[in-house]
């Protein structure tokens, strides 16, 4: 049933693409697709940017498949089947990539939680640090009454 649904969906998509092929947007579509795909030879370049021979060949494949009326999803699948998720700049969300997708947000949440905890503790801190009258009397007895002009590091 599911397959049938997709088949139907692709059929519609193919027909739409077949019409699109006659208009100049085809080039732009190839470009958009190839910007989402990684060149495996020079891995920090997209297929659109790379001049590696493999990238040229893969762009040729994109062109052919677009001309054959394949949908973007089908073309992406074609490449993932051969080169794995690595070929996509935006990897799909699944168990092995969960950390990749959630990790930054989890770190942000942890950092925010830590910040809130520290701020709360700091707001409570002055009350604890303040000296009571009992403490002040104790300090005065140990250090003697404060003398003006007396240096704190004086020898006397």
């Amino acid at each position: 049933m599911r397959n049938l649904f997709f088949a139907f969906f692709f059929l519609i998509a193919c027909n739409v693409n077949a019409i699109e092929n006659t208009d100049p947007n085809t080039e732009q579509r190839i470009r958009q697709l190839s910007e989402k795909l990684r060149c495996l030879v020079c891995q920090n370049q997209s297929l659109a940017e790379s001049n590696a021979e493999l990238a040229q060949d893969l762009r040729r494949q994109l062109r052919e498949q677009v001309a054959a009326g394949r949908s973007d999803g089908e073309i992406m699948d074609y490449l993932v089947q051969r080169y794995g998720d690595f070929v996509l700049y935006e990897p799909p969300f699944k168990a092995s990539t969960a950390l990749l997708w959630i990790g930054p947000f989890a770190l942000l949440a942890a950092a925010l939680a830590a910040l809130v905890a520290i701020l709360r503790r700091r707001r409570r801190a002055p009350e604890e640090a303040a000296l009571g009258p009992e403490d002040q009397r104790l300090v005065a007895r140990v250090l003697g009454p404060a003398e003006p002009g007396n240096k704190p590091d004086g020898d006397s």
Partner: protein, 188 residues
């Protein structure tokens, strides 16, 4: 004290991650084809003077001198993607020639985006370890196999399933430690 332990702990964790990262090779992209059927193709075989080649070629593709992976059903074999323009293939080639002398398993070449004359000259000059070399002139079959850095080598089992992929040149060590043990296990 605790206040200093926290950053230290985070630092050590970070160093751990970075150290692990250094041991990984980002150029080795795990192939999604492992455990899947080797993609089918039907391609011409490289013409090459020499008895060994002719005999093998005639046996494998008697009439048309074409080759399809189904011709190797029932055998565990190596598919080695090579080209005369590929620099590291030159390092790898003697290893393959040595392996072919041992007659342990058939080695087939996929001559990737090469000129026939250049490929023939290469085989005459450096020796021919291949039962046949299959001509993939426009690189389409290479794309079907997910080739992105020649040389690459596939171990394909008797049912035609890809069991292992070596990206980059085969070495004696890789052969002894990975490829041959796997191939021998698959043969049984």
């Amino acid at each position: 004290m605790k206040r200093f332990l926290w950053p230290l702990g985070i630092f050590i964790l970070l160093v751990g991650f970075l150290a692990a990262g250094l041991t990984l090779d980002p150029r080795e992209v795990p192939s999604p084809l492992i455990g899947k059927a080797a993609p089918a193709f039907d391609l011409p075989v490289l013409q090459q003077p020499g008895e060994r080649f002719d005999a093998a070629a005639r046996r494998l593709a008697p009439s048309a001198r074409r080759f399809a992976p189904s011709d190797m059903r029932g055998k565990v074999w190596l598919l080695n993607v090579w080209a005369s323009w590929c620099v590291s293939c030159r390092d790898e080639h003697p290893v393959l020639v040595e392996l072919s002398k041992k007659n342990l398993l058939p080695i087939l070449g996929l001559n990737y985006k090469d000129k026939d004359e250049d490929a023939q000259r290469w085989l005459t000059q450096f020796g021919n370890p291949y039962q046949v070399s299959i001509v993939d002139a426009d690189g389409r079959t290479g794309i079907d196999y997910g080739v992105y850095g020649v040389p690459e080598t596939y171990v394909i089992d008797a049912e035609g399933v890809i069991r292992y992929k070596q990206i980059g040149p085969l070495t004696e060590a890789i052969l002894e430690q990975k490829v041959l043990p796997l191939a021998m296990a698959l043969k049984k």
